[in-house]
Symmetry: none
Subunit: 189 residues, 4 copies
Amino acid sequence: MAVQQRTLKTRAKLLEAAKGLIETGGYEALRVEDVVRDAGVAKGTFFAHFADKDALMDQLIGAEINGFLDQISELATPQNIDDLLEALMPSLLFMCQERFVFDVILRHSGAAANDKIGTIAQTFMRHGAVVARWLAEGPFRKDISPALLAEGVGAFQIQAVALKFCAMHNEVELRERMRTYLNAWLLPT
Amino acid sequence: MAVQQRTLKTRAKLLEAAKGLIETGGYEALRVEDVVRDAGVAKGTFFAHFADKDALMDQLIGAEINGFLDQISELATPQNIDDLLEALMPSLLFMCQERFVFDVILRHSGAAANDKIGTIAQTFMRHGAVVARWLAEGPFRKDISPALLAEGVGAFQIQAVALKFCAMHNEVELRERMRTYLNAWLLPT
Amino acid sequence: MAVQQRTLKTRAKLLEAAKGLIETGGYEALRVEDVVRDAGVAKGTFFAHFADKDALMDQLIGAEINGFLDQISELATPQNIDDLLEALMPSLLFMCQERFVFDVILRHSGAAANDKIGTIAQTFMRHGAVVARWLAEGPFRKDISPALLAEGVGAFQIQAVALKFCAMHNEVELRERMRTYLNAWLLPT
Amino acid sequence: MAVQQRTLKTRAKLLEAAKGLIETGGYEALRVEDVVRDAGVAKGTFFAHFADKDALMDQLIGAEINGFLDQISELATPQNIDDLLEALMPSLLFMCQERFVFDVILRHSGAAANDKIGTIAQTFMRHGAVVARWLAEGPFRKDISPALLAEGVGAFQIQAVALKFCAMHNEVELRERMRTYLNAWLLPT
DNA sequence: TATGAATGAGCGTTCATTCAT
DNA sequence: TATGAATGAACGCTCATTCAT
């Protein structure tokens, strides 16, 4: 087996082990020790493949988000708030599943340096591009740039999820809150 | 000295010691061990006053934010975006000073349960109330409720600070980004 | 109410609270904090009534053992090993209920100084006296003194209970082991 | 150096450090912190080698007892009570040196489960085997099994040491008490 | 690449006991 | 006697990360 092959195989084993553990115990409880044990490799090997545990998290969560982006990229441009909302919901729900996941996403939403933009940071850019295109093409406000509009949508998504984790505001549904935001942001009187 | 007095005094000593250490080394480097040493109390005493280190952080950062709120509460209602921006800047800059501080604030921005809403969570509510009043009284859009408007301002504040910590967007000033957001949100064409 | 009365009442409240907690959670989990809370007194008060927590344990466990001694004191002198065994079983079973109880008993079986012989230590003396009388009166070996015989019975009791807590010897019943010991010790060929 | 070798060496360093500290301050005053400092290893390393402090104690005290067993294993079978007594005295004196040591021994004399029989528990078995062989070969009572005889010797040893720590019985020498027990147990008229 | 023992700073915790009021 | 805040010395533990082999 070629060296490159072995490397990829080990990396795959680590990712598979991690996914399996997350299915059972969620992201927060993931331990490097368990990952390497399930993958059948030594601890040091893990750090030969990932800079640190956070890099693994970035990969795993980023891959998940990219899956959602793949799906919505194939959609036709939403022609109203409801359609837009439906397109955004899957990733919102993913971010809501665990407070820890939300924290990781927030932490990685910006890159520490340009030369190491992580998977999650890339999904934010990709998400922004997709939404901006929609907003430019669809029947939404045109007084500000699609890029800025998309940035605002991102801000409201974060806000909606954050309030979901907040006991003080739980009474309102995530979807309804997001719909309210989109209406006010994209269709001001 | 009354019993209650003694308790309050000890608590004050702990908070003072913590503040002193933060002035020197910032929030992230704060160590419980150093706090109790400087306060001249036992470690057990610390945990009799604060559930954990995070609870102390909540108190300290919350107090700081409340200070800003005290100041802006006395201001006259802003009559334009610039005045509003000026009022919001101090707390924005505070949140920007240390990535760690921003993370703590995000973590505490929602309360886990109604019976233990922390200091930071309370400042969010107070901040929302102040801004909502301003937006209701000032010359801003009236097609949506002041409460919702204020919620949006909060969302954009988080967004602005988050992007400040992001290498991809550093080039734009925090203030300018916030101004853009406020204009688009509060004064849509 | 006379001062003496109040003192006794507080002491009784503490003992009652402790007994209640032990019924629920056993001896090992007993905490002074819980005792004073249930008794409705302050922590310091506890230490005005008991030198330390161990003194409370000594009282509680000693009282229990004295109860057994009261019962067997009324019995007729056992005329064989079986009857003797039956008389000894209740206290043996009590010592077996919790490893912690056994440890406390061992620790208190001797007194640190003559002027503070605790309740448990006294029960050992009382137990020795009762058993010695039986052995002197009953049909048991006479080549050594009843006091020494009784001391040996005590040693074998400890041994039997200790092995009860030992995974290596669990297979033999406590009662059978004790019967074997008594036969060999009191009725050598 | 092989991996296994390194592990053994670290373990040895920890044990050496502990022994050194015990020579100076005794068993009770042993602190994990001091052990790791003297051994020149990290605290985490300690807990990678020993489940807890008690496990270290078990090892240390067990090793000591095994030393005595090594010595008496080489002795010729005692032909009378006096010789037997001499053989038993060293370990008795070791158990007497510190109340704390005796407590640890009692606590570990039984194993919580078969799969984790500690060092001290093993020495009890080994001691029983050695003494049983002696009693089988020597001029002692034959009406009961050597195993049972040895068990009784063990019981009397515990009894003798326990009474040594007891103010009520201090006046009699440990050795004399043990001699009396052995005579009565092994040579009934 | 792979190994896996070792690192290490510090948090959280314990809880019987003391002492000033 | 009663109060209860404060004590305090360890222990246990965590667990991502490093480094010599």
